[in-house]
Symmetry: C3
Subunit: 353 residues, 3 copies
């Protein structure tokens, strides 16, 4: 039993085969065999070293790799004699090779005898459910879906096909999880939003009756929390990717293919367009609109709407160039203050004449 | 079995009955029947649309609602002919109606046969404990309390009556949880504080021997962490509300009815008064005093004491008005620098005369 | 059964014995007996009050303690007649006394019958595994290690001797946990990093094939997440201490004895030296170098490399003194703007002459 899945080891490839798989240009012995890819400073004999950033050129001297997977812009830095496969998009090439060298271990369909299921649970074909999972009344699980150990799915949760729930995921009642979704350990889907009315200093809980809807192809990181909607739904759109320890509050809408890095917090009812990017530890206040393709840089705090395609940064977040200019001037404030002091002296002296 | 609870559906109400329940003014057919409340842009026939913010007036054109629950200040925006119930406090009215339309499913008292209990566990009347919960030695559970699937309660944890622990809550030994408390999935109560003494570069763990005390009526969000006290106790006061992914460090005191939004971090020994508000992703350094009724705006970083009733914002947090003025001036720095440049030229020219 | 451990109560000590244990100077009756240590404002008769910060001197008036454990620099503040033990390093003395008064309850070696184990699991001597833990294929557990209730250890996870996993820890496959490690409730070790290649607007998942390596003597707080490496490993170095809700991204290296407080986020591939300190809610962008002994103050955002031994603060983080100067000048901006206005008037008047 392999509760959290694992990676097995694929077969070796010749450099010729590597070049064909990634659409790259081969320089070196076509029949040289490599058994895997490794970082530049860790690759040993028989391995392909991955070289995609000038930053790591310093490790070239110590590399014991048999060959290199290198971006076209960095090829010149390599020793002339080093065997290599040259590509324009090295990260995509790396993805292709890792998928070959580390194929997923197929998970055997199986429902462990310790799984507790409520009335009316429906399981698709080829489902795997690991020890101690608890499925509430009316839960449905799609074909080929994997439910990790200790997951607790609230009543009437619906999970689509080919989805992977890592161990310890919890969904609240009526959550909707699409197909080809990945939820990492400790993700909480559909928890109550932070909603109260305050009457004479006492906070009364607003019933949270909407749903959390996670569309197809979404991935959500470890220990992230996605609240249910208060009245309507909270929606994470198709193909969006969310990192660890992220908070998505009630009624937020995250557009398709938007990426949200770790420790980001999105407050209630804010809407983020599609194809947007929020860097790590960024946050956005409630009831805002962040447009399609907008970018919020690492650590920034969004307090106003962000137009589509705009890049914003800082506290409060403003257009990135403006933020950089303000920061630079702030650094020169001591000199500006001195200049004003000198002017005051000069004017006083002129006035005294 | 419904591991995470659920909401059932209450009976339809006439507009007349709606107006009576919420103390509102009826405009329209008294006998019109509505079966629920929905957001303005999602409400359909037979539903009451909730309209409490001008921001959403743009959705009025597309609304297919049968009637409206509307704040007195927004009534004029509605079409003259739209049936409505007009109220002064629309969110409190919404709370009352949702409590009617979505009554809580009563949870049947039951201790699942898979629950593991240590010696000396005492359970009150009408307790429900879901599959795979583990209760350590000497744990006590009050009447009518619900312990979700997979909760692990450390030895001698005490939980009051009518409290709800959602699945996957963990308490460390000797935690004290009051009555009418709600702890969401993944909340960790009483974990060790971050305390060490450093001797010649090695960090030695300070035993954390205080308790975490969660008073009556508190709600704590998903995956939040409340450390135990190091020597004394960490206390979350009566009726305080804490959102998801919040960190409350050792020996912190949170006053009664204080609200703390998501991703907030309160460092060790800081004391927050009663009725305070900390916006999302705010944080406060250690050993500070934040007074009664103080407000810390979204994303702010508190590095100094905050007087009672004060609103602070920014990094470092300062009085909100001052922060806004400083931000505005920072935005005008380029112009100020230009003005100083022009003055220098003018003074040079005057001096040359 | 005590799923989360507990503390038992050690024997009383005479003041003479206290002074000997902590290497302190005794002032008062050598035979006076104390049964424990408590905070200044909570200590009662028979207890030793801990007094190590001038901040709490205000509580001296109400203290009912029988004696004091006091730092040498604060001794004068005490009433001349108060029995006391005076020490140079009061926190280290406190640690010694708490270790005496609150000895750890010995955990009986035992593997609960509900534990599920895959093929090839190897358990050392004196191991304790609590209810419902799930150990994947090929997991190894060192001598005297404690695995809390509901832990799920992915296939081929290796855990060293004398390590404590609190309840609800999850490790992904092939994680490596050293000896004398403490992992708190809800910690996730080896989760996938946030890695994708984007082809025509679609994000393709990069296989995450590296490991998470937690070296000897590390402590990791509740609900923290440590991603596995993408190609190489993510490493938390020997004796490092990490607080609650911290995110360590793929391929990060945390040096030996470095301390990272709550809610910190370290983005991918950043390397932190040894003996560094990151205050609560600080964060660091990806691919940075933070040197040995560097300090990042509470709430700061690191966007550039930090040299060894440097202290940085603010957004963006800059040397601490520079940051303080800039902040002070920002506060004086309104006055600077006024001075420029007066200069303009004076120059205009001079020019008019």
């Amino acid at each position: 039993m392999s509760p959290s899945g694992d990676v097995s080891s694929g077969e070796s490839l010749t450099l010729q085969a590597v070049a064909e798989r990634v659409g790259g240009r081969l320089r070196g012995p076509a029949s040289l065999s490599v058994s895997g890819v490794a970082p530049l400073d860790q690759a040993g004999p028989g391995q392909l070293a991955f070289f995609a950033s000038k930053r790591y050129a310093k490790h070239l001297g110590v590399s014991r790799a048999s060959a290199y997977l290198v971006g076209a812009d960095l090829e010149e830095i390599l020793d002339a004699g080093s065997p290599r496969v040259v590509v324009d998009a090295p990260h995509e090439a790396l993805r292709v090779l890792l998928t070959h060298f580390h194929p997923e271990v197929p998970r055997r369909a199986d429902v462990h005898p310790t799984v507790v299921m409520g009335r009316g649970v429906r399981l698709g074909e080829g489902v795997r459910i690991e020890p101690y999972a608890v499925l509430g009344e009316g839960v449905t699980i799609g074909d080929g879906t994997h439910v990790g150990a200790h997951c607790v799915l609230g009543a009437h949760t619906s999970v689509g096909p080919r989805t992977v729930l890592h161990p310890h995921v919890v969904t609240y009642a009526r959550s909707v999880i699409g197909s080809d979704v990945i939820l990492h350990a400790g993700a909480r889907i559909g928890s109550d939003g932070f909603g109260y009315t305050t009457v004479q200093g006492t906070h009364r809980k607003m019933p949270q009756v909407g749903r959390a809807v996670i569309e197809d192809g979404v991935e959500i990181g470890a220990n992230s929390t996605i609240d249910r909607g208060s009245l309507g739904d909270t929606v994470v759109g198709r193909g969006a990717k969310i990192d660890n320890l992220v908070q998505i509050a009630h009624n937020v809408r995250v557009g398709a293919a938007t990426m949200i890095a770790a420790l980001v917090g999105i407050a209630g009812s804010t809407r983020i367009g599609s194809g947007a990017w929020l860097g790590g530890r960024a946050c956005a206040a409630n009831h805002l609109e962040i447009g399609d393709g907008a970018r919020v840089t690492f650590g920034s705090t969004v307090l106003r709407d962000v137009p589509a395609q705009e890049t914003v940064s800082g506290y409060p977040a403003r257009p990135h160039r403006e933020q950089l200019r303000t920061q630079a001037l702030a650094g020169r404030l001591p000199r500006l203050a001195e200049r004003v002091g000198r002017l005051e002296a000069a004017v006083a002296s002129l006035e005294a004449k």
